[in-house]
Amino acid sequence: MLERCGDKSATRAAAAAAGVPVLPGTGAVTDGDARRAAGAIGFPLLIKAAAGGGGKGIHLVRSPDELERAMALARGEARAAFGDDRVYLERWLDAPRHVEVQVLAGSDGRTVHLGERACSVQRRHQKLIEEAPAPGLSSRQRGRLGDAAVAVAGAVGYRNAGTVEFLVDGDDVFFIEVNARIQVEHPVTELTTGIDLVAAQLRIAQGEPVQFAQDAVRGVGAAIECRISAEDPHNGFVPRVGVVDGAREPAGPGIRVDSGLWVGQAVSRHFDPLLSKVIAWAPTRAGAIDRMRRALAEYVISGVDTTIPFHFWALDRPEFLAGRYDVRFAEAWGKGPASEQATDIAMLAAAAWAYKGLETLRLPVDGASPVWVAAAREEGVR
């Protein structure tokens, strides 16, 4: 199964054969065929690793003269990352939305879908914020996505919990790939459907069919997930290594925190920088966003930079609030004018901090301390 879905060009072909629209593209290509195939697809296009995943081995080619060099780079990366240097070409859409559908395919092959997730908030082709349901889709599009996902799972003979990924461009929906695993963003589907996906996956692995029918699946309310990674969002999201020397995690109604975080934890360069995930559910999308803002304001991680500032920004963007955002959303981060209000508040904080610093040096403070406390402090600062 992993082999079949891991081979992206084979799943593309299977999906297309099942009548699911796919982006114009190729199967695995040789360097010799690439130029002619690229001409047929049109530019810009992407070169992707056939065995790829996680955004690795993907190269954007804007014009024919960039093709040869990009092919060599993509093959080298694919070989290094996946031990397989086969690559394929695919049409590139300028500003699509990334939408994916959760499926459960039982041991008997009967497959249900659990609705879609919007995953367009990305940097380096990796997701930062996901939500369910996907905002801004018509009910017709939602229906088509669900049907297409089940059709793809059937076409490749899928058995497991999995995700079928699509790009949505205006009214068009294109299949891109199957993720044959439980994904990082699965909690948003769990919170809206009430179905424990990990448990469902284990039951399938035990040889059971899916326990419920498609029309028993109901999405209730809205859920959003923010990925908290040890990265410096103000510095191109460069991963930050260090030691977590303090942490307080949020809680409260509708808040779930999936976390592997503890004080004293070393964040090393050997692992993915993802530290934890905050998921907020509420009856409405606006309510979930409010709860998420509150949870992020409670979240304290000391010792390493995190993506939390980015999330504050994202959750206040008009296009995010309106549910009209695409994969280029995060490009606007850090490019807008600085907030004057934040500058004012930061200056107040810095002055108050400096004052508190003086208070601890000057003696006695406030006249409130007993004399012996003041004497001890004076001793301490000598």
């Binding site: 303090g246 304290v300 500058t343 200056m347 904080a349 810095a350």
Partner: protein
């Protein structure tokens, strides 16, 4: 004896403010010296064991990370990251200096316990507001202590190399009487 208001020159992203910080019974108040901003109640509570603080400004609480950097403060606040420079400015005139403005004496006190590095002025010399009357070192930082008001140096009570306590009198200035208008 209490810590009186302290004036800071604060700058970030090209904006500059003179901020008077004062502790009152209900907490810290920050008063911008410019008239367009009113006094702001500020609470800054540490989140123990972290570099983060809970900052409450006029009733709204936000987490803020404060870190010393290159003599300034590196701030993370919401979505924003910014560098703020904070320098102690002239002390807020107290009642004593208000009396001084009528032609009395002003005692210039050490801003913190430390080591006197220099006293550049001698008794009898004229001094402008803002002129350095002493340099005090503490925590490996040298701070120039400015004259809060113009006048003439009457006494220099400390000398270079001397340890001083916080609030110890360094220099006494006889204030130039304000001309009646």
């Amino acid at each position: 004896m209490t810590v009186r208001g302290v004036r800071f020159d604060v700058a970030s992203r090209g904006a500059q403010r003179h901020l008077d910080v004062e502790r009152r019974p209900d907490g810290l108040w920050v008063r911008p010296v410019s008239p367009e901003m009113s006094a702001t109640h500020v609470a800054l509570e540490p989140l123990e064991g972290t570099e983060w603080w809970r900052l409450t400004v006029n009733g709204t609480t936000v987490p803020v990370r404060l870190r010393r950097k290159d003599g300034g403060v590196h701030v993370i606040l919401g979505a924003e990251r910014l560098d703020v420079t904070v320098r102690r400015a002239l002390p807020v005139p107290s009642r004593r200096s208000a009396a001084g403005a009528a032609g009395g004496h002003i005692e210039v006190r050490a801003p913190m316990p430390g080591l006197v590095i220099a006293t550049p002025l001698s008794p009898g010399q004229p001094v402008e507001q803002g002129n350095t009357v002493a340099v005090v070192e503490a925590m490996k930082m040298q701070m120039e202590v400015p004259a809060p008001i113009a006048g003439r140096v009457e006494e220099v009570r400390v000398r270079a190399g001397q340890e001083v306590a916080g609030d110890q009198i360094l220099v006494v200035i006889r204030v130039t009487p304000v001309a009646a208008t």
